[in-house]
Symmetry: C2
Subunit: 358 residues, 2 copies
């Protein structure tokens, strides 16, 4: 590894000068010709700065801490991490990822990240929920992912807009010609279930379609789920299904197979999916949309960096595409079975708050 001293020696200047130039603080302070020569030399010698040495003086490591619970069990985490890493890499940061199972390990892992002097934290949950920021994170720049600050509410966060997800999906089913749309929900209590169901109901109301308790069920992961779907089907004969997730969608798919029906031909299905690959490769007839995890990760890191560096560029603009406003539109898989050529959009709610001074 080549150091500033070596460059200084070769250039016949002092280390101070090299430092000034290489950290871009040379304008009006170092002779332009020298500056250029030093930069060239650094490049030729393959200089890469030692961020650790720098951090000793600056207290800035350009390391971000990613604290997540059980990266393990949820496949979506991959895309989230990918988005986060891309954003980090783009800004010259790097990510230290730790995993926590319980509260004990969380404290320990956060301490470890602190000892490495991370500049800020990403705190990610497995599903959308209100949380209390861990005490160890208080006062440190932090952005929440798939979580909302349940306290005073001043922590920036990004999480899916569950209502819009349900609303969009249901509208799309209606637009595809479905007249009787069922909702196969989740029996566990979570923000996502409530929001998506409300979106579903609002869409039905807006489109003047049947709104009936008989068309809604909330099932768990147990064996009875498939039977419940079977019963709903017998009673109401829906022509469209909005499913809380891919697990629920598969029950619909199974029932369709047992009835000799084909999804995409006889009935329409939209399921929200955390696991795009499966849906795409396994079963082209099972239509799913994925949550914009990549974008969430990307936004979260961009936001965190702007907190850290204290700049005021609006981080929400990072994800402005297609002229959307507060919602984060994301292109996902096209839905051939609904004959829609346009991609489905899933929205993310972005909560921006005051920067935290550390």
């Amino acid at each position: 590894m080549v150091t500033m001293r070596e460059i200084a020696h070769k250039a016949g200047v002092s280390v101070s000068t090299v430092s000034l130039v290489l950290s871009g603080k040379d304008s009006g302070r170092v002779n332009t010709k020298d500056a250029a020569r030093i930069r060239q030399l650094a490049h030729d010698m393959g200089y890469t700065m030692n961020p650790l040495a720098r951090s000793l003086r600056t207290n800035r490591t350009k390391i971000l801490g990613f604290v997540s619970e059980e990266v393990a069990t949820t496949p979506y985490a991959g895309r989230l991490i990918l988005g986060a890493q891309d954003a980090a890499s783009r800004n010259g940061y790097v990510m230290l990822t730790v995993n926590t199972d319980g509260l004990a390990s969380e404290k320990k892992e956060i301490e470890a990240l602190k000892s490495y002097g991370v500049d800020g934290f990403l705190y990610a949950k497995m599903y959308n929920q209100y949380i209390h920021l861990p005490d160890d994170l208080q006062g440190h720049p932090t952005v929440l992912v798939d979580a909302l600050d349940g306290d005073r509410g001043n922590i920036p966060s990004i999480s899916p807009d569950e209502f819009l997800i349900g609303y969009d999906a249901t509208c799309r089913l209606a637009d595809a010609g479905c007249r009787k749309i069922a909702y196969i929900g989740c029996s566990d209590p979570m923000l996502a279930q409530d929001g998506r169901r409300q979106g579903y109901e609002a869409a039905l109301a807006d489109r003047g379609l049947t709104l009936s308790r008989d068309l809604e069920i909330a099932v768990g992961n147990e064996r009875g789920a498939s039977r419940a779907v079977c019963k709903l089907w017998d009673q109401t004969q829906p022509d469209g299904f909005f499913c809380f997730n891919d697990a629920r969608a598969l029950h619909v798919y199974e029932q369709a197979a047992r009835r000799g029906l084909y999804v995409g031909k006889d009935i329409s299905v939209i399921g929200v999916d955390n696991h795009l690959v499966f849906a795409q490769t396994l079963n082209p007839r099972l239509t799913t949309v994925e949550l914009p995890h990549y974008e969430m990760g990307y936004w979260a890191v961009s936001k965190l960096i702007s907190l850290i560096e204290g700049d005021n560029r609006s981080s929400s603009s990072i994800l402005h595409r297609n002229g959307q406003d507060t919602a984060l539109p994301v292109s996902t898989v096209p839905i051939p079975s609904l004959e829609a050529k346009t991609p489905v959009r899933i929205h993310c709610a972005i909560i921006e708050k005051e920067s935290i001074v550390s």
Copy 2:
């Protein structure tokens, strides 16, 4: 952050002494009573060592670099990372994870890791394959995951024992009473496909069961796959299916549904799964076994650390369970449909080579 200087001041000794004690090099060099006092003081003051400052002197950061291609698209990566992180955390290391899509970004990301002074690298591929170690990694302690060194072959690696996977699964089907076992394979060329098919065939031969080309197909991810399974079924009427992965298994499941048959009652299915959650929660009747990704990650990091620290404890012993030898047995989901109470085991081949001197 409390420093050694503060402790030294409070203890009335020099920083050198504190350093000696706190890094465990005090025996026979520092008064035992003082040592104990310093240790107590450090604990009371909540001292945590600054590993970055230390690294400036020692060239050891206790940071591991994890280089993987597209953490994103494969769900199994989560468990791999989890295992790796657990092993790292257990040994006082921390992991810097980077993602590469193409070769260009790979070089860049590896450079970034180097500039942060990582002590060693994990180089993980998405599926079992022979590879050429990137030049930038040459001479650095490195362990391969889901990959085998295609060159001189001196890089330690861990990857699934594909043959044993196929052999075990097929034997289990035979033991469950299946007399005509089909193999639904993968049409893409990969080590896993060849190995698993060979294991399947060997098991059939050992158990004296029908071995026929008609019972084997290799399908891709396209729509025709389900039709191919349908045709095989019509022609041969198997009572057991060994599936390359869960995607293939689902085709079997679909065909069973369309025929009014139930997996686990009328036929038996074993699929190798990269995505345990789905299989478990979605469809209790679809029987899959998962690859031991957690264990692979854990082993790889343990091995890497032993390379770095140059100790000679056999790292394969780390994963010795159930008295197995070179193979890595892993307990996975029980298989109720086959009425087996014992867990299925999947094996990993561990390739241990000479340590690399950096």
